[in-house]
Amino acid sequence: MKVSFSATRRLMLTCSGIISLIIASSLIAATSSDNSAQPAIADLLANDHLDDYYSNVVLGYRIITETELYATRYVGNQLRCRNCHLDAGRTPDAIPLNVAGMFPKWRAKNGLKNGIELRIRECFLYSLDGLMPPENAPEVMAVAAYMHYLSQGQVIGKPPPGMGVPTLPNTGQDPNPVTGKAVYDAKCAACHGIDGAGDATHSYPPLWGSGSYNSGAGMRNIDKAAGFIWANMPFGSGRTLTPQEAKDVAAYINDQVRPIDPRQGKLRLAVDAIYLWLSNLW
């Protein structure tokens, strides 16, 4: 008799425990989805006493905004992350960085399931035309922490609004670099320079030449570059160009000389040619 009583009581206790756990976890979920709960970057920058996570967030923010100072080891050109990820990755339609919930994801570019670290490392290799950091490099972990911080409140797997760059409508015409040059000289050259070399202060990034992204970068894709230009350029008065103008400018910019895709170096071409010759010989 006594045994059955204590068993019932235990069952009730367990049930009430589970119910209260469910309530508590739903409460926690409700509060954590509130994006304003976490401190702003300005507060974090002003605060010396940060835990390890927020210190990494701040370091990640500094890498994004002053790449050449905080990620010197792996950068190969004159770009900063924030040159494309405008406002340190907080502007929609300018490749915002609040996309931690979208990883890991499969990408056709390398045919692999990409973790967020691999994605960051690829940016160093192509867009920053540098060396690929190791997976556990502190720089990579800091940028990942910053992206995680920006992604608070997003739904995992659901693209956040303004992810990447807008896809421009089909204008029925091919992108024309000749008209693109006219548009560039009129609207872009004032800041980026006629020679596309930008300025030394890192405010206006070089668009081609040795200081810019290499041929393996995502910006080399004319559609992506056109979407970015249409939504954000000229800086401060985005969406003033027509889609066709944006495509023409993108074609002009990507027609210029820039560092080669590191996957397609002369050595790679030579090795591939020898391999082809040998396999034909067989």
């Binding site: 835990d51 390890d52 370091l59 010197t72 080891r73 060396l131 690929m132 050595l267």
Partner: protein
């Protein structure tokens, strides 16, 4: 008072850097060893700085200035500088008080290093190096060999290009790699690493001094070609462009928070100071055993304390003597401290002039170099010599297995305790020899104390006639033994000289 003054005078004598002996060293060998040491300390300094939660710049500053100051004041070709154990301890100590990468973290690390330096300088003033003289040669050999194996094991991931494997047990790593090697190993990294290692070992057989250089040149060229072929496919970890700036020079910031935090960090500082000092003095004594006659442990203590005290003002952090770099230094034929000092200058020169070449130095090559150094630290001849004495054999195997299974810190402590124990055991033994007609003259030597007085008592009660005890050879006699002797003398059982 007089003794104190004498003590202080000898201590102050350490402050004058001792000129290295003029006899039998060649500048070419010293500079060559210094150059190779610089090449190997650069990646290590960066890695250890990350372990301590600091930046690559801090690691390089430590590689320059900690090494320079230690070599300047040292009496042997001991190489100091950034060190794994010390770096990890710094990182762990400060993490509860500040996040990695924050300015606060850097200033706490700097003040912790200063505190460690002050404690080591205090140890130098109090002649604390005496304590470390008890290490038996077997314990030192065991620690050295254990470190050699640990270096080899730690370099496995880098050599094969796998992710860092968090294993608890030393040889677990090998099992993981054998069972899951196909998924874990990066074939390109493994090709670079293993070919450099094999070449290095081959060259080591015939031209011992050039082994590391040969492995480095071969591995460097191979990884450069692979990276130029397709950096995405080969996925080699590289060193990257190394910055060198003077912004870190100066006095670390001090706020009102610092006092409270530093008070809490005192126990950590004591541990770090002890670990750093014991590692350095173990290395120094090992050098002494290898025939560096002008070894003075108090000088090494001073050198380490000064280096750790000064490093934070120069952008570095606390370090200690380095097992692997000292081993390499000796292997390359260095005989004086010029090797270490030139190594510090070469680091600065290499970063200043060769940063673009250095950027392509890959981790498998560095791992291969460390493995060659680790292999050179395992000496069969030493093992054979230690095997001949029972006590030494026991100390050796107990110490080396604790280095394997519980890590370097426990190994050092156990080695010290065992050495001390056997020392006490050996000196406290009572040796009784009989002489004269019908053995009534008896000489007692060693130590006579409460623990072994009953041995003597048995002899005294067994003896038929009055015993003549010769106690002039005793090196220690305690109160209990003195009282027993007195009572026997009064009972007329014995007579003894004084």
């Amino acid at each position: 008072m007089k003794r104190l003054r004498h003590n202080l005078k000898t201590r102050l004598g350490d402050l004058l850097p001792e000129p290295p002996p003029a006899a039998s060293f060649s500048w070419r060998e010293e500079l060559f060893a210094g150059f190779m040491g610089a090449l190997i300390v650069i990646p290590q300094g960066i890695t250890f700085a990350y372990l301590a939660g600091l930046t690559p710049e801090n690691g390089l500053m430590a590689a320059i200035f900690t090494t320079l100051i230690i070599s300047l004041f040292s009496s042997t070709p001991l190489i100091g500088g950034p060190n794994t154990a010390v770096a990890i301890l710094i990182g762990y100590a400060i993490l509860p008080f500040a996040g990695r990468g924050s300015d606060l973290f850097f200033s706490y690390a700097a003040w912790l290093s200063i505190l460690v330096g002050v404690l080591q300088l205090a140890a130098w003033l109090g002649n604390g190096a005496r304590l470390f003289r008890v290490f038996s040669p077997a314990a030192i050999a065991a620690i050295n060999m254990g470190v050699g194996v640990t270096i080899i094991m730690a370099a496995i991931e880098g050599l094969l290009g796998t992710q860092p494997l968090a294993t608890r047990f030393l040889f677990q790593k090998i099992t993981i790699i054998i069972t899951n090697g196909g998924d874990l190993i990066n074939p390109y990294a493994a090709t670079v690493g293993l070919s450099s290692l094999l070449l290095g070992l081959l060259v080591r057989r015939y031209y011992r001094r050039f082994a590391i250089l040969a492995a480095m040149v071969w591995g460097g060229c191979l990884s450069f070609l692979l990276l130029k072929w397709d950096p995405f496919t080969v996925q080699l970890s590289v060193l990257g462009h190394i910055p060198l700036s003077t912004t870190y020079l100066g006095i670390p910031t001090w706020t009102s928070d610092h006092r409270h935090v530093m008070e809490k960090l005192i126990p950590d500082a004591v541990i770090i100071a002890f670990i750093g000092l014991s590692q350095t003095l173990v290395i120094a004594q090992d050098l002494g055993r290898q025939g560096f006659k002008n070894l003075q442990l108090s000088r090494e203590t001073l050198a380490l304390g000064l280096a750790n005290f000064a490093a934070p003002f120069l952008g570095g952090f606390a370090g200690s003597g380095s097992f692997n770099r000292t081993a390499m230094n000796i292997e390359l034929g260095a005989k004086t401290k010029w090797a270490g000092m030139s190594s510090a200058l070469f680091v600065a020169l290499i970063i200043w002039a060769g940063t673009d070449i250095l950027a392509f130095v890959s981790m498998p090559v560095i791992a291969a170099l460390l493995m060659i150094v680790g292999i050179s630290m395992i000496k069969v001849s030493v093992m054979r010599r230690v095997w001949q004495d029972r006590a030494e054999r026991l100390i050796f195997w107990a110490t080396i297995s604790s280095v394997f299974f519980f890590g370097l810190k426990i190994g050092i402590i156990l080695g010290a305790v065992l050495s001390l124990g056997f020392l006490a055991w050996g000196t406290s033994r009572l040796v009784i020899t009989f002489a004269g007609p019908d053995n009534h003259q008896c000489r007692v030597s060693g130590a006579l104390f409460f623990g072994n007085i009953n041995e003597l008592e048995a002899i005294v009660t067994r003896s038929q006639s009055q015993l003549q005890l010769d106690i002039s050879q005793l090196n220690y006699i305690d109160d209990a033994a003195r009282r027993a002797l007195e009572s026997w003398r009064q009972a007329g059982v014995i007579t003894h000289n004084q």
